[in-house]
Every structure is written in structure tokens, then in C-alpha cells.
């Protein structure tokens, strides 16, 4: 997997490069928007990580230019400040995801992975999501574990569905907040943890290890089986 990082702040650039390299990506870093645009046009990257604020050609213009050239590489925007307008502008301007500095490496890694695998749209169109003996029927809105029928609240269903759709990927707390509850701010409580624990209580077999695995400092994942 190849990632192009367009970032002018040297320290952040190195942090991102080292972190993504450690996560198994092949990372190229450039510090100017125009160079980034050239390389993104010519080379087959899997994900672009682009700072919104760049000297010369800014991140948004870069992506707008790319999309005009029909380059559809997924883009993750980085920004120093989560300006409300920026997020909407970024996503409307062709960005696929958005991350506000400071971010943890786990968060960035999880999001870049999610974007990198996105083209396959695993399971997006499937009516049934399966993981081991767990089946989630998206049309009937039912969940079964083996022969056991599991009753879930609508939000718990949505949470499980989200995790299953990202099967094999780490899903971070903020990805869940955005994806499941549509919250785009950071609640200062353990919302996600509590919901996950309730969900575990319902889907897991007593005594057996949980289907939902906690990835320390990063988030949660349901391992592909």
C-alpha cells in the first residue's frame, strides 16, 4: 500500500511517515502542494494524506485539481484546527476523510487503512454480514449467534453493523462517534466504551473471548474469520 503525505510541517511529516511505515505502508513525503499534485497525478498511490494549509497550492485546491483530472485516489485531509467550515468544505471539495491535529498515530493509521481498502467496498452491498457464527441481517434487522437470536437496540445494531463493515480494520472511537451517532465533537465521557460493553454483553457467549477486540490506545476491531 502506497501513501503520499503532503505536509509542510517537518515534525508532523516525520511523525506521520514513521507511524504509517510502522503500520506497513510505503510512505512518500513531499512538502509542497504543487509537487504533491504532480506526484499524485503520475503515480498510483492508494491513499493521499494532505494538509489543508500548505504554502503555495493549498490542500483543498490540490484535491479539487486532482478530482478535475479524474484522479479518484482517496484523500484524508489534515488540519491544524477543526474549523466547522473546513470540514464541510474539505469533504465537498473531494476529500474522503478528515482529521484534526493533534491526532494519534492509531487514529491516522485506522483511517488510512479504512480509506485504502475502501474501493472494494467490502460487504457494503451485502444484505447479510457474517463473522464466524454471527450473522447480521441488514434487511430483516436481525442478529443471530449460532442458533441464538439476539435482540439489539437500534443503536447497538448500527454499532455492530459498522464494526462488521470494517471487519479486520481497527475502528477508532472518533470513527464510531461519527459513523454511528453522527457526533462530530469529542464527548468528554466514555460514551463509546459503555456502548461497546453493552453490545459485548449481548452478542458474546458467556466465558468466551469477546468478538469485539479492544486495540489498546486505538479502538476496536472485529477480526475477520
Amino acid at each position: 500500500m502506497r501513501v503520499l503525505v503532503v505536509e509542510d510541517d517537518l515534525q508532523t511529516a516525520h511523525y506521520v511517515r514513521d507511524g504509517l511505515t510502522a503500520a506497513g505502508f510505503e510512505v512518500d513525503v513531499v512538502d509542497a502542494g504543487s509537487v504533491g499534485l504532480e506526484r499524485a497525478r503520475r503515480e498510483p498511490f492508494d491513499v493521499l494524506v494532505i494538509d489543508r494549509m500548505l504554502p503555495g497550492l493549498d490542500g483543498l485546491s490540490l484535491v479539487t485539481a486532482l478530482r478535475r483530472d479524474e484522479v479518484q485516489t482517496p484523500v484524508l485531509f489534515l488540519t491544524a484546527m477543526g474549523a466547522i467550515g473546513d470540514r464541510v468544505e474539505g469533504l465537498e471539495g473531494g476529500g474522503d476523510d478528515y482529521l484534526v491535529k493533534p491526532f494519534s498515530m492509531e487514529e491516522l493509521g485506522a483511517r488510512v487503512s479504512a480509506l485504502a481498502r475502501r474501493p472494494s467496498m467490502r460487504g457494503r452491498d451485502e444484505a447479510r454480514l457474517r463473522n464466524g457464527d454471527l450473522t447480521l441481517d441488514r434487511l430483516q434487522r436481525t442478529v443471530q449467534r449460532g442458533e441464538r437470536r439476539i435482540e439489539l437496540l437500534p443503536l447497538q445494531f448500527k454499532l455492530l453493523e459498522f464494526l462488521l463493515l470494517h471487519e479486520g480494520d481497527v475502528v477508532t472511537r472518533t470513527m464510531l462517534l461519527e459513523g454511528v451517532w453522527g457526533l462530530r465533537f469529542d464527548p468528554r465521557t466514555n460514551i463509546v466504551e459503555t456502548h461497546i460493553s453493552h453490545l459485548r454483553g449481548k452478542i458474546d457467549d458467556p466465558g468466551a473471548p469477546s468478538l469485539i477486540v479492544t486495540v489498546r490506545g486505538a479502538g476496536y476491531t472485529i477480526r475477520a474469520r
Partner: protein, 455 residues
């Protein structure tokens, strides 16, 4: 114009005082004029009488009593002339038709009424009695009717002039006061608007060749407001700048900490220390984020991005997100949600609702009840979050909406002190009103949004 307001105006009060003073001065001046005019007129009469008496006495010396009598007769006939009476030593009337006066020798003022001499309009008269050498008495008199007429004319003139002056003074001062009042009203209205938070409003200015003190007042007022606005902007700019500038090095600190954790190689003491420092850095970053978020909410042109959204759906979603956590903390969350469409930004309103729930969670004891309701009040969508916790003393309710304000009891609990300030800013951005009420016991926060414009 409201009468009480009009009477309360300094202009009208000054004008009334001026008019009263003018009238008093006019009355005094009129009385003095009357007095001096009468005095001068009377002096002239006295001189005339003395001169006539002297002339006739001289005639007696040179030509005798007979000549005097004929001079009296002819003098009496002169129109507008003096009045005479000449009697000999025996008291016999020799000439003249002035009735007997009974006055002593010399000048005497007599106040006759009209009935005294039927047929002659004598009223007030001044007479000069002279005894001629042969014992006969010559009386020369001047009828004062003219003086009376003069005095009346003068009085009437003074009355009408003074009256007209007073009325004109009042009218002019009314008009002046009204003009002044309007301009002062402009300054007062501007002051009210600014106190209500419209920092861009200024007192009206007019183009004047010679600016007066009210222009001066308006100008100084505006200069003061400009200065305050500049100060507020500077404070905001400085705090936003600090938050922004410190964020980058803090971000780097946080990044370095992650490397420390990796380098720790599982050493539990290093990991624990790193985690603790990370927690502090995250806390700082959260405060800065809240500050930047607040600055952004307060300044950004957002209205264009507003979309119709169902407040009940949004509130319900957030309540569902928080419910397990609130219940895990030993509290209860109940909702009563009726659909209500609001024109706004879902992310912002969501954050405001989240902040309210977090507040209710953080500042209430275990076992508390939190209630969230969405309804419509006279077409205005309304969100209500109440708890039965300790509440906020009435005197402090305004303060908690301010930046960084924290009640004494909350100093030790985590939080940026910006939670309710963000709620207030979000409400302000949406033209909504925030009220903090007593839930008896506990706190109720009500956000009332403006009614949706008819589409």
C-alpha cells in the same frame, strides 16, 4: 412624543426655566418703563405749568390783571392747551372754566373722578396755584388723560410683546428640545443596542459645519465603542492566537510521548508516566480546542450553511449516545421529544446538546434524574434539559454562560469552563435564546430557537 419623556428632557426643563425668567424680566422691565415714562412725562407737565404760571405772572406785572384774564380766556380756547382758573382776592371767578380745586399754592396732583365736573372728562389733573400781588389766585392745570392713554398703550404693548415673546420662546424651545431629544435618543438607542450585544451599532452622526456638544457626545461615545470593540477583538485575537500557537508545540509533545511509549519497551513505570503526561496534554489541548471552537462559532459566517433539521431527532440521537454512560454513572435520563424543525447546523447544535448532557452528568450527584424535552412554544422550537442536582444560584446564572467561568464547587472537577459558553455561542449563532432556570431543585436550561420562517 411621550409626554413624560418630553417633560423629562433636559431641553424642555431648561426652556421652561428660560421662559419663566424671560417673563419675569419682561414684567420688571415693563414696570420700570411705565414708572420712568410717567415720571418724565410728569416732569414735563410740571415744567410747562411752572413756565405758564411764570409767563402769566410776568404779564400781570407789565399789563395788569385784565390782560391776564384775556390771556387765560384765549389760552383756554387753544386746543390741547392747558386749563385755567383766575379768581380775585374776593374769590370771584374772573376767567377760565377749571372748577375750584381747593388746592394749596404750588403744584398739586388731584385725583378727580369723572363725576366731579360734569361734561368735562377731567380725571387726573395737575394744577399750579399762584397768588398774584393783588391777592387774586391764578390756577393753571394740565389734564393727565393723555398720560393715562400713553401709559395704557405702553402697558398693552409690553403685554403683547412679552406674551408673544414667551409663547415664541416656548415653541422654539419645544422644537429645539425635540431636535436635541431625537439626537440624544439616537445615542441612547445605540447604547442599548451595544449593551444587548450588538457591538457594531454606533450612534448616528450628522454632517454639521459647527459640531455642537451633542455631536461631540455622539462622537466620543462612538470613539469609546470603537476602543471597546478593538479591545474585545484584541483579547479574542490574543486568546485565539495563544490557543492556536500553543497547539502546535503541544501536538509535537504528544507525538513525542507516543514515541516514548514505544521506546519504553513495556516498562510499566515509563508507560504510566507517559500516560499521565499524555492525559495532561490532552486536557490542555481540549481547552484550546474549546477556545478555538468558541472563537470560530462566535465569528464565522455560518448562517449560509444552515439547513432545516429535526431538533427532536438530533436530541434523541445524542440522548441515545449518552444514555448508557449516564446510566452507568447511576443517573437516569428520560426524554420527551416532539418533532420541531430548526434551521441550523446539526454539528453545532449537537455539540451544544452534548455539552448540556455532560454538564448534567458532571455536576449532579449519583442518583440524579436528567430530563430532556423538545417541544414547540408558539411556533418556536424549544429544547429543555433539566436535572434535579444542586442547580446554580440565581445570581451566578448569567456568569456561567461566560468564558472560563466556573462555580467554586466545580473548580476541582475536570472541564474547560467553556461548556456553557459554547452552548451560549451556538444559541447566539442560531438566533436562539438560552435561559437558565430553577428546576426546584436543580437546573433547567432552555434553548428557544426562532420560529421557522414560512416557506
Amino acid at each position: 412624543m411621550r409626554a413624560s419623556r418630553f417633560l423629562a428632557s433636559t431641553g424642555v426643563r431648561l426652556a421652561t426655566i428660560q421662559t419663566v425668567l424671560l417673563v419675569v424680566a419682561f414684567v420688571i422691565a415693563g414696570a420700570l418703563t411705565q414708572f420712568s415714562t410717567t415720571y418724565i412725562y410728569r416732569q414735563g407737565v410740571h415744567a410747562r405749568l411752572a413756565s405758564e404760571s411764570a409767563t402769566l405772572a410776568a404779564l400781570y406785572q407789565s399789563r395788569g390783571l385784565g390782560e391776564v384774564a384775556s390771556a387765560v380766556t384765549s389760552g383756554e380756547r387753544r386746543p390741547g392747551g392747558l386749563e385755567y382758573r383766575l379768581v380775585d382776592a374776593g374769590g370771584r371767578l374772573l376767567a377760565g372754566d377749571l372748577p375750584p380745586t381747593g388746592a394749596p399754592l404750588g403744584l398739586t396732583f388731584l385725583d378727580w373722578d369723572a363725576a366731579y365736573v360734569p361734561g368735562r372728562p377731567y380725571q387726573d389733573i395737575v394744577v399750579d396755584n399762584t397768588r398774584l400781588p393783588d391777592g387774586s389766585v391764578l390756577t393753571v392745570g394740565q389734564d393727565l388723560t393723555d398720560e393715562g392713554k400713553l401709559r395704557h398703550t405702553l402697558r398693552d404693548t409690553l403685554f403683547w410683546c412679552g406674551g408673544a415673546g414667551a409663547v415664541m420662546g416656548l415653541v422654539l424651545s419645544y422644537l429645539l428640545a425635540r431636535g436635541v431629544l431625537r439626537r440624544v435618543d439616537g445615542v441612547v438607542a445605540a447604547a442599548r443596542a451595544v449593551s444587548a450585544g450588538q457591538m457594531t451599532v454606533r450612534a448616528p452622526r450628522r454632517k454639521a459645519l459647527l459640531p455642537d456638544d451633542i455631536d461631540e457626545l455622539g462622537a466620543s461615545f462612538n470613539t469609546m465603542l470603537d476602543e471597546i470593540a478593538a479591545l474585545v477583538a484584541r483579547v479574542r485575537f490574543v486568546s485565539t492566537g495563544i490557543a492556536h500557537d500553543l497547539r502546535t508545540p503541544l501536538t509535537h509533545v504528544r507525538q513525542k510521548l507516543e514515541r516514548v511509549r514505544i521506546a519504553a519497551n513495556g516498562d510499566p513505570r515509563v508507560l504510566a508516566a507517559a500516560k499521565e503526561v499524555e492525559g495532561h496534554v490532552d486536557e490542555l489541548l481540549r481547552v484550546f480546542d474549546a477556545m478555538l471552537r468558541l472563537a470560530e462559532i462566535e465569528s464565522g459566517p455560518l448562517a449560509a450553511r444552515f439547513k432545516p433539521l429535526d431538533l427532536a431527532e438530533l436530541a434523541g440521537r445524542i440522548a441515545d449516545a449518552y444514555r448508557p454512560d449516564i446510566e452507568a454513572g447511576g443517573r437516569r435520563l428520560t426524554t420527551s421529544l416532539a418533532p420541531a424543525t430548526v434551521l441550523g447546523d446539526a454539528d453545532l447544535i449537537g455539540q451544544a446538546i452534548g455539552n448540556l448532557l455532560e454538564n448534567a452528568l458532571r455536576h449532579t450527584p449519583v442518583g440524579s434524574r436528567v430530563e430532556m424535552a423538545v417541544d414547540t412554544d408558539e411556533g418556536r422550537p424549544r429544547l429543555r434539559v433539566s436535572d434535579d442536582g444542586p442547580g446554580i444560584p440565581e445570581a451566578k446564572r448569567e456568569d456561567v454562560l461566560r468564558h472560563f467561568y466556573r462555580l467554586e464547587a466545580s473548580r476541582t472537577t475536570p472541564g474547560s469552563g467553556l461548556g456553557l459558553a459554547i452552548v451560549a455561542a451556538v444559541a447566539g449563532r442560531h438566533g436562539a435564546q438560552v435561559e437558565l432556570l430553577d428546576a426546584g431543585p436543580g437546573l433547567t436550561v432552555v434553548i428557544t430557537f426562532p420560529a421557522l420562517p414560512p416557506s
